[in-house]
Symmetry: C2
Subunit: 453 residues, 2 copies
């Protein structure tokens, strides 16, 4: 296989998988997913090189795993042993930002930060903020990444208008376009988004951009229970306030992220341990945002918020950033697993309560925060014993599924949750998706250990 890979990308862009220089590339940020042992790591420069790599690997019976920035939380970028690991680090160009059609055309190795900055030069924004702006476009397309702004703008899926990708047989496919809408056959774009490199390797992405909203107000409201927060979220969203951030944080998580960020909000001591709702409003005109913030404060006050803190811009920005980094805070605090379940918005508090009860049964500490507007709950689970951790996770997932939830809201399935998806997904749907996968990759070349199995 090595000569073919060298032919494909050039000798200087192939490294053996056991070279210590590539050790950091053999895993992503998922807790509990061990690093893979790829045969080779390659850095293609363009679509043709990606196609040649896939053909070379397939001919040799090796699998292929795509890797963006490696910031994923489910192990989708962790290669199978013996795989060819394809880094998109060299395919990192923003090919075009088009303010007339409000789209950008980018290579998969572009970071969210770079894309958003380029869009900003035209008064536009790419509003997918999954908590790590160094994430690559390709990685976020593969995992259908979400984040805090999804409550207003939707997840990655809502922004991908077209793709260019290499299929398992090395052929190049183009889907969608610079088109706001399309109804011309099954939507292959949408099938590829969230498929975690198991159906194709994305080589180019056309995304929708939005007008930037320069004016903001951010409000923090401590409540006496998660149930009260859940009720408030429905009212805030239902009132049409269209928050750009609508986050739940329990007391310990709030304390952890403030500690981690060195952030002192100046809350009265007792209130820091409350159940918090953090809401950001954004708009084109400051006076409207201010007026909405007053309406928001009234709604939250009437629903039993202990206080409604109107955060100064600096504190607001730092708190939102600290919340985005919550994963790192709980990782630093020694969390053994981070759960990314999604449930109906109205069921968030019930789910949290049942998850904590499951933790209690198995001696695990369970902290929570979440994208409250979307019902997407992130739980940090502290239980170092592997068996008791597994038992806790089983009960937590079962509780979420029983409430109508799904095993991942935004981190994806990857390797970390493939067995939970198999256990808790609709069996008929899984059978269909296995057949779809088989039809698109009959030899199991693309990321075989990942996603639908």
């Amino acid at each position: 296989m090595l000569p073919d890979l060298v032919d494909a990308v050039g000798a200087e862009h192939v490294v053996a998988g056991d070279d210590p220089a590539v050790a950091d590339l053999c895993a992503d940020e998922a807790l509990g997913v061990p690093a893979g042992k790829p045969a080779y790591v390659v850095w293609p420069a363009d679509r043709d090189e990606v196609a040649a790599v896939v053909r070379a690997a397939r001919a040799a019976g090796a699998s292929v795993t795509a890797r963006g920035a490696g910031t994923g939380l489910s192990g989708a970028a962790t290669p199978d042993d013996g795989a060819v690991l394809v880094s998109f680090a060299r395919m990192d160009r923003i090919l075009e930002v088009d303010p007339v059609d409000a789209v950008a055309v980018v290579q998969p190795g572009v970071s969210l930060e770079a894309l958003d900055a380029a869009a900003g030069e035209h008064g536009l924004t790419y509003p997918v903020h999954p908590g790590e702006q160094s994430a690559s476009l390709g990685g976020t397309v593969a995992t259908n990444a979400g984040g805090m702004r999804a409550v207003r703008y939707g997840v990655t899926r809502a922004h991908v208008l077209g793709l260019e990708a290499v299929l398992a047989d090395g052929s190049l496919v183009r889907t969608g376009g610079r088109l706001a809408k399309v109804s011309a056959g099954y939507d292959l774009t949408q099938l590829l988004v969230g498929s975690e490199g198991t159906l194709a390797l994305v080589t180019e992405v056309i995304v929708r951009l939005h007008p930037a909203l320069p004016c903001r107000r951010t409000v923090l409201a401590p409540f006496s229970s998660a149930q009260a927060v859940t009720g408030a979220v429905a009212r805030v969203v239902g009132a049409g306030l269209a928050p750009s951030v609508c986050e739940y944080l329990d007391g310990p998580t709030m304390r952890a992220i403030c500690d981690n960020a060195g952030l002192a909000l100046g809350l009265p001591e007792g209130l820091l341990d409350a159940d918090h709702l953090l809401v950001e409003l954004a708009g084109r005109r400051q006076e409207r945002v201010d007026e909405d913030a007053e309406e928001l404060a009234e709604v939250l006050g009437s629903l039993g918020a202990a206080e409604v803190f109107d955060l100064p811009a600096g504190s607001a920005r730092r708190l939102v950033e600290a919340r985005e980094k919550a994963f790192w805070a709980v990782k630093a605090a020694g969390a053994d697993e981070v759960v990314d379940l999604v449930v109906p918005r109205s069921a968030m508090a019930t789910f949290l309560s049942r998850a904590r009860a499951a933790g209690g049964t198995h001696g695990a500490r369970v902290l929570g925060c979440g994208h409250a507007g979307d019902g997407n709950v992130h739980l940090a689970v502290f239980q170092p014993d592997p068996e008791r951790l597994a038992a806790t996770l089983h009960d937590v997932f079962a509780a979420g599924i029983a409430l109508g939830g799904a095993v991942s809201g935004e981190h994806g399935v990857g390797r970390a949750k493939a067995h939970q998806l198999a256990a808790f997904g609709d069996p008929v749907a899984l059978d269909v998706l296995r057949r779809v996968r088989g039809a698109m990759d009959p030899d199991g070349t693309l990321n075989p250990g990942c996603s639908i199995r």
Copy 2:
């Protein structure tokens, strides 16, 4: 097959396909698609009866076509000869409107009008308005229907959160849920939306609702060219005005729809024949909508609008309704075909110009209107000679595809555009989608004459 169908739905809900009573059910509203000759028409009452019908048809080697309200424009509800035509007219219940999660759960036979009215009782709206509010939810899911409000809210695809459906083998599958977002395996919901009854028969739909926006202002601006309208659209959308309607109408179309609706706008005679931009703004507070309407008028004036008419509420409503009925106006005027191409928003005027030139070459009259904010152009083509009509359409489609377009923006492929999709779609993508179809329906039971072939 008849005894099995009678077993499935009861004798009173099966009628032979050649019974004159069902003649109206054997076609939809697509121009140029002849009525099919189904073996039987059946009216199942629930998911289990749908499954039994599919099993009975498959066992007999007959195909199955689903039919909603029959308002489709591409022949997707027109059965193959010998098919079992499944009417969803009896499955027309709104099972739930949930204002807390802002979702509705409906059977496929529910009309858009009924759903929007039920949502309205909770201060919510289902904003998919494809021009015919008697359309069924199931039909709009099958075709991924769009319409005028898509510029603000997105098409049907953006609103479907979960499905229950019967697969080709009669098994029942459930996808998604009351979940604002999900990243748990390939998105089967999105694969089924727009698949026109070729992958599954939908038996239940979970849709997202939005807060209703009670305040409106509507502006009509005649320009001297379609190019000027296209330029204005980019500015209106780019300014963040988030129009709820953003329509282009050429002079003849404006005249036809006003005549058809008996609507006198009182425009100076010369201006009626201009290229028109119709923009509706909607919001929660009238003073903001008024302020935005003033900003809009300034923008349009600065871009060369001959006038900016602030339409009184009654005229505005009637004009928007008349535009929604444009298909009927051009049908009444004798149009031989209606084209539904989508191109990049910025390419709309160029496409219109090339389409008219193609009409000139083949002696066809080509009128146009379109969802300008989405680049979705509807052309009425007048050319009674079948060969010259076909030549015109070929050149029109080729022009749209050359500009980066797709063969359908919102009407779907159905039978009417299956050959255009085959001719103009990405061949690798079509091959993939054929394999997906084969994996899900290996015997070709579901609507075989339709969509990807």
